[in-house]
């Protein structure tokens, strides 16, 4: 696109324009996603609670309800309390939204369908999601309200604690696949559902639930939504916010929910690889068929991620909220040891070459083992060429990994 614009304007302008357009597109994705999820939350919550939820706006099912809400929020007065630190108060929602938005950059929607193909994407995602807390802390501090301050403090304590088990859970699929690239991890789980990493061994099955718990906690959803606990802290960190800035916090929250669910889908549920390999042959055919297969995979992935979000919604409307000490206890006493135990267990399982369901269902090793990072292949070539001891060592490593 930059080349196209470059015909009409200076090069730097072309780049800037291109960047702006891409950013606007991705923001639209975030916005539309939030619109959908807020509508879904209201519908699901309504159904759970014997209500109908929105029914009128936009005709059937009230599917335009979030848009109407959005218009209302845009037209609302943007208030800042007199005691607030004006600059930080105004910036905080953006600080919260930006990382959650940036996380989409490295999340693959299908094989190769990713904004930025980065080799350490698991790590990058976890890192960037951890940054979202800054917006909340700043909002809590800058609002000049004690309730907000409580919310910010709680959020800081909670997120810093939960990042530990979350990272440990995320690392297990990384070790099993030998790569941090989400695209590669996803591709390694091609084939039947038995090849999904959650079914790899009992430990990965267990660790998924730990991951999900920690993910719910790290995106600040009930029963871990202590930062905004409405029955204790009025509305916590966003007590003083109104209008569009308030909605930015929610866009960030819903987007983060989608990202952690998507991450779970790739790490444990095969990403774009369905329970049944319907499109595998299309994918192999290449050309237009491959695009169709990728599109189906993309829908598959989005379906899984949305399912994860729906479970979070379901949990939110079912469970009471934990107390702050119980939240920290849950993390330190249960999640961290469990994650560490599963970490060791899963690695031991892999090391001992114990069977996983995929071995007896489809013994064809075309799945995980065939997918390798390029450097491994090159290292193997190098090992064949030189025969030096370092290369042998490496080849052995690569062998083990297989």
């Amino acid at each position: 696109m930059a080349e196209f614009f470059a015909q009409y304007m200076p090069a730097w302008g072309a780049y800037l324009l291109t960047a702006l357009i891409s950013v606007a597109l991705l923001l639209a994705v975030v916005g539309l996603g939030a619109l959908f999820f807020i509508w879904a939350e209201r519908k699901v919550a309504g159904r759970i609670q014997d209500r109908l939820g929105p029914t009128r706006t936009g005709g059937k099912f009230g599917w335009l309800q979030s848009l109407a809400d959005g218009i209302k929020l845009i037209t609302k007065e943007d208030l800042a309390p007199a005691d607030a630190d004006r600059l930080l108060f105004r910036l905080a929602p953006y600080v919260s939204l930006a990382p959650s938005y940036a996380a989409l950059l490295a999340l693959p929607f299908a094989d190769g369908w990713v904004g930025w193909e980065i080799n350490t994407s698991v790590f990058f995602l976890l890192a960037i999601l951890g940054l979202e807390v800054f917006g909340v802390i700043l909002a809590g501090y800058a609002s000049g309200s004690k309730w907000s301050l409580f919310g910010g403090m709680r959020q800081a304590a909670q997120v810093v604690s939960y990042e530990v088990p979350l990272g440990m859970c995320g690392v297990i699929p990384v070790f099993l696949c030998g790569t941090m690239s989400l695209t590669t991890i996803g591709n390694m789980q091609a084939g039947w559902a038995t090849n999904w990493l959650i079914f790899h061994d009992p430990f990965t099955f267990m660790v998924f639930w730990v991951y999900f718990t920690c993910a719910v906690a790290s995106v600040n959803r009930a029963p871990f939504d202590l930062a905004e606990a409405e029955s204790e802290l009025v509305a916590g960190f966003h007590t003083e916010y109104s209008g569009l800035r308030w909605s930015f916090f929610f866009m960030a929250e819903y987007n983060s929910m989608f990202v952690v669910s998507g991450l779970a889908a790739v790490l444990f549920f095969g990403g774009w690889n369905g329970p049944v390999p319907i499109f595998a042959s299309w994918k192999a055919a290449g050309g237009g068929w491959e695009i169709v297969a990728d599109l189906a995979g993309c829908l598959n992935f989005i379906g899984k991620a949305v399912l994860g979000v729906m479970v979070m919604i379901w949990v939110r409307w079912t469970l009471p909220r934990l107390r702050i000490d119980q939240v920290i206890t849950t993390c330190l006493k249960y999640c961290v040891p469990l994650a560490a135990f599963c970490f060791v267990g899963a690695l031991a399982w892999q090391l001992a070459s114990l069977p996983s369901p995929n071995d007896w269902l489809s013994p064809d090793p075309a799945g995980r083992a065939a997918v390798r990072e390029p450097w491994v292949e090159r290292a193997e070539d190098g090992a064949e060429r030189s025969g030096t001891s370092g290369a042998e060592e490496l080849a052995r490593l690569a062998e083990d990994k297989r």
């Binding site: 630190d85 700043l138 990042e163």
Partner: protein, 202 residues
């Protein structure tokens, strides 16, 4: 036409400018929370520079540990001690003048040094041909931490080839260091004051 401007350069200027502006913001703001905020953005932008230089793992690490961990801790500390008399602590003008003079001189020296070595300031011609899967992936780093150097397969020195060029030893030392530090930090911040609490909800 686009060759006159490459993405690397453009992004470099972008990230470098934001990083420097916010670093200056840390220096010149007197409110401690704003300082922390500026520091977050500054370190985040420098993580962008890391990504740009091809060190993606280190960049993500920077985001996770530095920005996500250390700075949250810092802000936490700020909030714990955030009383109005500490929020704004101004430095007097004399100190400012002196320090800016010294700082300016130091910056001049460093810049002079940075641009004076010809090996450093000559552009790398074959940059477009560089394929750096090794340094982009986390696996070679992990391998180096366990003593295997993926990037030095052609190493001729037998001692280095035998895994001595890896980082196993420093890695272990750093791990022990971290452990000691955590214990030490916990000791330093240990409770000094105990409140006898009667009847916890009872």
């Amino acid at each position: 036409m686009l060759a006159a401007i490459d993405l690397h350069g453009f992004l470099f200027v972008l990230f470098a400018l934001t990083a420097c502006v916010f670093a200056a913001g840390v220096l010149f703001s007197s409110n401690i929370v704003r300082m922390a905020f500026n520091l977050v953005l500054s370190l985040g932008s420098s993580a962008g520079l890391f990504f740009l230089a091809g060190a993606e793992f280190v960049g993500a690490m920077q985001l996770m540990i530095y920005v996500g961990g250390t700075l949250v801790l810092l802000v936490f500390g700020v909030m714990l001690t955030a009383q109005h008399r500490f929020l704004e602590m101004r430095t007097n003008a004399g100190e400012w003048v002196l320090s800016l003079l010294v700082g300016g001189a130091l910056l001049m020296v460093l810049l002079q040094a940075a641009f004076s070595v010809s090996q450093w300031n000559t552009p790398y011609a074959q940059r477009d041909q560089v394929e750096i899967d090794e340094s982009k992936s986390a696996t070679p780093i992990a391998a180096a931490l366990t003593g295997v150097r993926v990037d030095k397969l052609e190493e001729t020195n037998p001692r280095l080839r035998a895994g001595k060029s890896g980082y196993l030893m420093p890695f272990v030392i750093v791990s022990m260091h971290l452990l000691v530090v955590l214990v030490g930090a916990a000791y330093l911040a240990r409770p000094r004051m105990a409140v006898r609490q009667m009847r916890r909800g009872g």
